[in-house]
């Protein structure tokens, strides 16, 4: 059953990724091309998912929107992991006041509601995909720092670390050689979860107009644009909504599945 989740999650995630990659080189129509004569067209052979109020092809926009979602989340997770993991590893390796400092700093960051602060950052720094990446990324840093530190602490107590130490290796070398490989599974699972959260955050920011800017399509903005058309063309809201749900569901299933496969301890404890 757990394996099934993993495969479904992987399949969905791969589909989303493939869609985003295909959209780089091909979409049925240029996603920003207006065709006002054919606005609000229903689903048809020419427009599989219909057209929006400006006559743009919804399928093409969803495909291109996958790009915006994924690129923002990839970079946000990359930023969070890139800064958070070293911080967490440092706290675990050094302990003492360094550990305290890093952990209290993450406590502080956790005290702020993430999405609200992301809204604040983009409102101050100006809306746009770049600032959205930054805002979402900043909130990934403490998550990764905390998970890394929590998982790395017990590793540092193990005998092989003591052995490595006595053979004269430094903290950095031990972290790279022994600690990180041992906690990689947990980090990968965490990254998948953060990735899903990143997609929701990007959609949320774009929905309020602070994320990806036109003409680059974005699922969140499509949802917002569809809002007042809900009576005339309800499907306009359904498609981007379904895209967000599917992408997030896929990543969550994948994350759950990976955790069960990669982390035998968790499986046993169930």
């Amino acid at each position: 059953m757990k394996r099934l989740n993993l495969w479904i999650g992987a399949a969905i995630s791969l589909c989303v990724l493939a869609t985003a990659l295909v959209a780089l080189v091909w979409t049925p129509y240029p996603p920003a091309k207006l065709d006002i004569l054919h606005k609000l067209a229903p689903t048809s052979a020419a427009h599989w998912l219909g057209t929006d109020p400006f006559g743009r092809d919804v399928l093409s926009m969803i495909m291109a929107g996958a790009q915006a979602s994924l690129s923002v989340s990839v970079i946000a997770v990359g930023l969070g992991a890139g800064l958070g993991i070293p911080l967490g590893a440092l706290a675990a390796a050094r302990g003492g006041w360094v550990d305290d400092l890093v952990m209290r700093a993450t406590d502080l960051a956790f005290a702020f509601p993430a999405l609200l602060t992301a809204v604040m950052i983009t409102a101050l720094a100006g809306p746009g995909a770049g600032n959205a990446m930054l805002a979402i990324g900043i909130f990934n840093i403490p998550v990764f720092a905390r998970v890394t530190r929590g998982a790395a602490r017990p590793v540092w107590q193990r005998e092989f670390i003591l052995a490595a130490r006595t053979s004269g290796r430094g903290d950095v070398a031990i972290t790279l050689r022994h600690v990180l490989p041992n906690i990689a599974a947990i980090l990968i699972v965490q990254a998948t979860i953060q990735f899903a959260l990143g997609i929701i955050a990007e959609a949320g920011l774009s929905y309020v107009g602070l994320g990806t800017q036109p003409p680059q399509p974005s699922w969140g903005r499509m949802l917002n644009d569809a809002q007042t058309f809900i009576y005339r063309a309800p499907l306009l809201a359904v498609f981007p909504g379904a895209a967000i749900t599917l992408a997030v569901l896929g990543l969550n299933l994948l994350g759950d599945g990976l955790r069960d496969v990669l982390d035998p301890r968790l499986r046993r404890s169930r």
Binding site: A32, K33, L34, I36, K39, P53, F54, G55, P127, G209, Q213, P214, P215, D225, Q227, T228, F229, I230, Y231, R232
Partner: protein, 490 residues
């Protein structure tokens, strides 16, 4: 949640008393006024709340855009068009009990042109040489030169009568002579007015009115459908109208406004200083398709003037949609394909959504138009101020007949034309109505020829109100929501 329960309760109570004719009104608006003094740098939202309700001028503009008497009973104009003698309604009183007489007129007009005045429309007073009071019930206004629209100008929202004692507090506690007095302002939510029982004129039917501010189009539609709001004079969600039309509880009205939606260009900045580039942009934009895409019932225009304005000339054919011609003009002006410009877009849908459509149209002629959403404060600060830091912006100018802005020493388009200024001066100083009309036509033609901005469309007044509401203005010749003429059918 509490709010919903309270609303449900209120609705139940309201139906209980509905047998006696309803005398309350809740009116929806998209934008909240930044403050409530129409003479202190007013925004359209300020005017839409207080003008003709709390404040009145010597004249007022009626729903047909005509000048009618208000605090002035009548007037006579000297043969040379320079001296206006007004007979005043001195029985009128300010809401704080202060008297209205000629000294108030003198105070108001002098205050508006004083160095520290923040009046947004100082130009309306510019022609006044002096105001004199031979007796309290008579005001004599002498002009520097004959001024074609003087009676219209003093009926506009920014020239209303202000009490000397209450002037300082009007921003938050407006005190006027009007049929409604200010009750309270819950910031971010509503302004409440109540009938002025001591009003000098006819007693209005509506006893209390609430202006509710709902910025989000879908929330506005939902509030109307739920019956929370009785009328939305400038309804922000035209795409939902079919649903309201099908519903017997509502009346849908499509009227006109004086709002000119334009793609404003910074004529001082290269390459927009080149008329060929400006014309190319005009050829590149399909106005009809733009209006269709936005679904906002706008009417294409060809200069800074709307159908229905005195002396309107249809110039919409001057730059028909012709991408090939646009490309040729751009090439002639040395603009290479891939040229990048920035569109600064304030919040209203006509700008944000319009920007998306226009950017796509410009792309067809090889121009990359970057869309930059900005807030109103930024727009006023960066675009509208003298540093004019912008390439292009989309904006609706709601002041009626404001051809004067192109003749000003500074206006944010940075349009400088001696020919236009000379023609405008001639128009202002002409007293013969036929000659005025001719000159108005000339002004529009000069604008169309020079195309300092790309003229897009006249904003429609899309309104939804509850069936049974009478006396709503179908059109919006000036920004106003006069409540005094509104009533509920029995």
């Amino acid at each position: 949640m509490n709010k919903i329960i309270a609303a449900a309760l209120a609705a139940t109570l309201a139906t209980g008393t509905a047998q006696a004719a309803k005398d309350t009104l809740s009116l929806g608006m998209v934008l909240e006024p930044p403050m409530l003094d129409p003479t202190g740098g007013a925004a359209a939202a300020t005017r839409e709340v207080v003008y003709q309700n709390v404040f009145e001028g010597l004249t007022r503009i009626d729903q047909n855009g005509q000048v009618v008497p208000a605090l002035a009973k009548s007037w006579t104009i000297s043969g040379d068009g320079l001296v206006y003698i007004f007979a005043l309604h001195t029985e009128a009183k300010f809401h704080d009990g202060a008297a209205f007489d000629c000294s108030v007129v003198k105070f108001t007009y002098e205050r508006a042109v004083a160095p520290d005045s923040t009046n947004a429309q100082k130009g309306l007073f510019e022609a006044i040489a002096k105001t004199e009071c031979p007796d309290p019930a008579t005001a004599v206004v002498t002009l520097k030169r004959p001024t074609a629209r003087f009676l219209f100008n003093i009926g506009f929202s920014d020239t209303v009568m202000i009490g000397p004692a209450s002037a300082a507090g009007n921003k938050t506690n407006p005190v006027g002579t009007g049929p409604y007095l200010f009750k309270r302002w819950v910031k971010g939510d509503r302004v409440e007015l109540a009938r002025n029982e001591a009003y000098w004129g006819a007693k209005p039917a509506i006893a209390s009115v609430t202006f509710r501010f709902v910025a989000d189009p879908s929330a506005a539609a939902a509030a109307m459908l739920a019956g929370d709001i009785d009328a939305f004079p400038l309804f922000p969600a035209p795409e939902t109208l079919d649903q309201f039309r099908a519903d017997k509880r509502f009346t849908v009205n499509i009227g006109t406004t004086a709002g000119k939606t334009i793609l404003a260009l910074n004529n001082a900045r290269k390459p927009f200083d080149d008329v060929r580039v400006r014309r190319a942009l005009a050829y590149a934009i399909d106005r009809k398709a733009l209006v269709d895409a936005l679904g906002n019932y706008g009417t294409p225009i060809g200069s800074h003037y709307v159908p229905g304005d005195v002396g309107y000339v249809d110039l919409t054919g001057a730059y028909p949609y012709d991408p090939a011609k646009a490309k040729a003009l751009l090439a002639e002006a040395g603009i290479k394909p891939g040229f990048t410009m920035t569109l600064r877009l304030p919040p209203p849908p006509y700008a944000r959504r319009g920007g998306e459509v226009i950017a796509a149209m410009l792309e067809q002629v090889g121009i990359v138009a970057k869309q930059e959403p900005i807030e109103w404060a930024q727009w006023l600060d960066q675009v509208f101020k003298p540093q004019t830091d912008y390439d292009a912006t989309i904006i609706a100018h709601v002041e009626p007949g404001d051809l004067d802005v192109y003749a000003r020493d500074f206006y944010y388009y940075n349009y400088k034309s001696d020919e236009y200024r000379a023609t405008f001066k001639q128009y202002v100083e002409t007293v013969d109505p036929a000659k005025q009309v001719t000159l108005l036509g000339d002004l529009q033609r000069i604008l169309s020829r020079d195309e300092p901005n790309v003229y897009l469309y006249a904003l429609a007044k899309v309104s939804v109100w509850k069936a049974g509401l009478r006396g709503m203005w179908p059109n919006q010749p000036v920004p106003a929501n006069p409540i005094a003429g509104i009533s509920w059918a029995e």
